[in-house]
């Protein structure tokens, strides 16, 4: 039985599509039965509709990729109207991933999403804090605390805070978010990274830096998941470079309750189907009845 319990609900399996790599699910319909997934996290939403960044948005690195999409999205209300009905029609756990550059935007977004049937809200705190000079909310504990505390009163849904690996101290960050009212944590988001076009002598991306994801970051992400699992008691959704079922088992052994698959969906649109099958087979062979048996066994 690959089922897991997340905030009192049963997920068919621990495999959730990561935000920004799966759109709102539609595009992958041709490739798999979406209801077979543990869950789907929506493309990152913001209060206002965003066109995203200009210039090149994708760049490949050794076993990874950098992206500078810039949260192109139809806005929270656009999502609720245009995309959510489709997602709710699927028999899977739906996370609404929410970003923002001001506290007000986060609060408005959470309040609106609270009134919908999404299963959980995933707070992306890697967005730049426009009021405080552009450093992301997810770097320093105090900034994260202020956001989590601000939105907490506006929803009774499970509130998952998605941590940035660029945080100064990932353990302190996890502890702070839990104290501030997070019901769960997901980690990691992308690593801040740089690529330079040596011929034009310019950064590849208009924004200079961009977010690194994919297999290359897995060993660091896995370390961070263990660090956080040893620090807090709330459920952890682990991610970062997962490409196969073996990776998933590692993330669960490091302390994840569920996991997300991001960049690997681009490598193979049916990768999650294969991963779920692999987990099933592994559990059978190893006589594991419930993934809880192995969760966090790496202390």
């Amino acid at each position: 039985m690959t089922t897991i319990n997340l905030f009192g609900k049963t997920l068919k399996n621990p495999v959730i599509a990561a935000s920004g790599t799966f759109g709102f699910g539609r595009e992958y319909q041709k490739y798999m039965d979406l209801s077979a997934l543990g869950g789907i996290s929506s493309k990152g939403l913001t209060w206002d509709k965003r066109a995203g960044n200009s210039g090149q948005r994708i760049f490949e690195t050794a076993s990874g990729m950098m992206n500078s999409i810039g949260l192109q999205n139809p806005s929270v209300l656009g999502f609720i109207k245009e995309e959510l009905p489709f997602m709710l029609g699927l028999d899977t756990y739906i996370l609404a991933n929410l970003g923002g550059s001001t506290t007000e935007d986060y609060v408005r977004g959470v309040a609106e999403l609270d009134a919908t049937a999404v299963d959980a809200i995933e707070l992306n705190i890697s967005c730049p804090n426009v009021k405080e000079g552009g450093m992301a909310f997810g770097i320093r504990c105090l900034d994260a605390k202020s956001i989590v505390e601000a939105v907490r009163p506006f929803t009774t849904k499970p509130l998952i805070v998605k941590l940035s690996p660029n945080a100064e101290d990932i353990k302190a960050m996890a502890y702070t978010c839990a104290q501030a009212g997070a019901d769960g944590l997901s980690l990691v988001n992308t690593f801040n990274a740089l690529a330079i076009d040596i011929m034009t002598r310019k950064p590849v991306f208009h924004n200079v830096t961009a977010g690194l994801s994919g297999p290359c970051i897995k060993p660091i992400a896995l370390r961070m998941v263990r660090d956080v699992a040893l620090t807090v008691d709330i459920p952890i959704i682990g991610l970062g470079g997962i490409t196969c079922w073996q990776d998933v088992i590692e993330f669960i052994m490091a302390g994840s309750t569920a996991i997300q698959v991001g960049t690997a969906n681009f490598y193979d649109p049916v990768v999650m189907k294969k991963i779920i099958l692999g987990i099933e087979n592994f559990m059978q062979k190893e006589g594991i009845k419930d993934l809880e048996e192995i969760r966090g066994i790496i202390r």
């Binding site: 790599t21 799966f22 995203g52 999409i69 681009f266 049916v270």
Partner: protein, 239 residues
Amino acid sequence: MEAYRKVIVLENTQLTSDMYEMKVELADLPQPGQFYMLRAWAGVPYLPRPFSVCDADGKSLSFLYQKTGKGTEIMAQMRSGDHIDILGPLGKGYPLKEGNVAIIGGGVGIAPLLYLAKNLEGPVDVYLGFKQEAFFIERFKPHVRQIFISTENGSWGHKGFVTELLTDSYDAAYACGNMLMMKAVKDKIDGLLYLSLESHMACGIGACLGCVQKTAQGQLCVCKDGPVFESREVLFDDY
């Protein structure tokens, strides 16, 4: 349900110093202008790469490609009997118009145009621009009325850009090449003109939003909403 398919490489031929044609066993008959995501690796590179359909006969599919980086280098080393993973056909191809038609291609941008020429009814004139080495010209001959050729160094045909030969006297026109050339074509052709755009892609299916193009209708995905766009739709402000 669709997925990557493992197909056999039938032929992989070097055409010029850096141009190759790879023929794979596949019974698809895609629309001209559609593309496939190809993958012959699983680490470095990581992501698949998009390639236009250059030819198809119901039994096999051809890709014309230029060796420009790691992925195409690996492809260039493949031999018949090797396997390659392939997803597609993807995207929206060229609408097939009747009447006098012009096809304009620059360098590797001629890749989708042969299969297009084969599928068009009306009299087709082809304009092919190259840097130094011309290629693929014989392949167009049976399917077209006239061929205009230019090279930047004058080694074949007109010396200069192929757009200098182009006249605005067609019922419809189709172009593929780099953005600067497409802009030049757009400036010449007032009528119906379809452009096949390029962009850096990750997923190829509309999920990552990495390949967007500014259009009159907002940001569209080159992979899902394109790669072919009506020229009037395309906003060239980044170029």
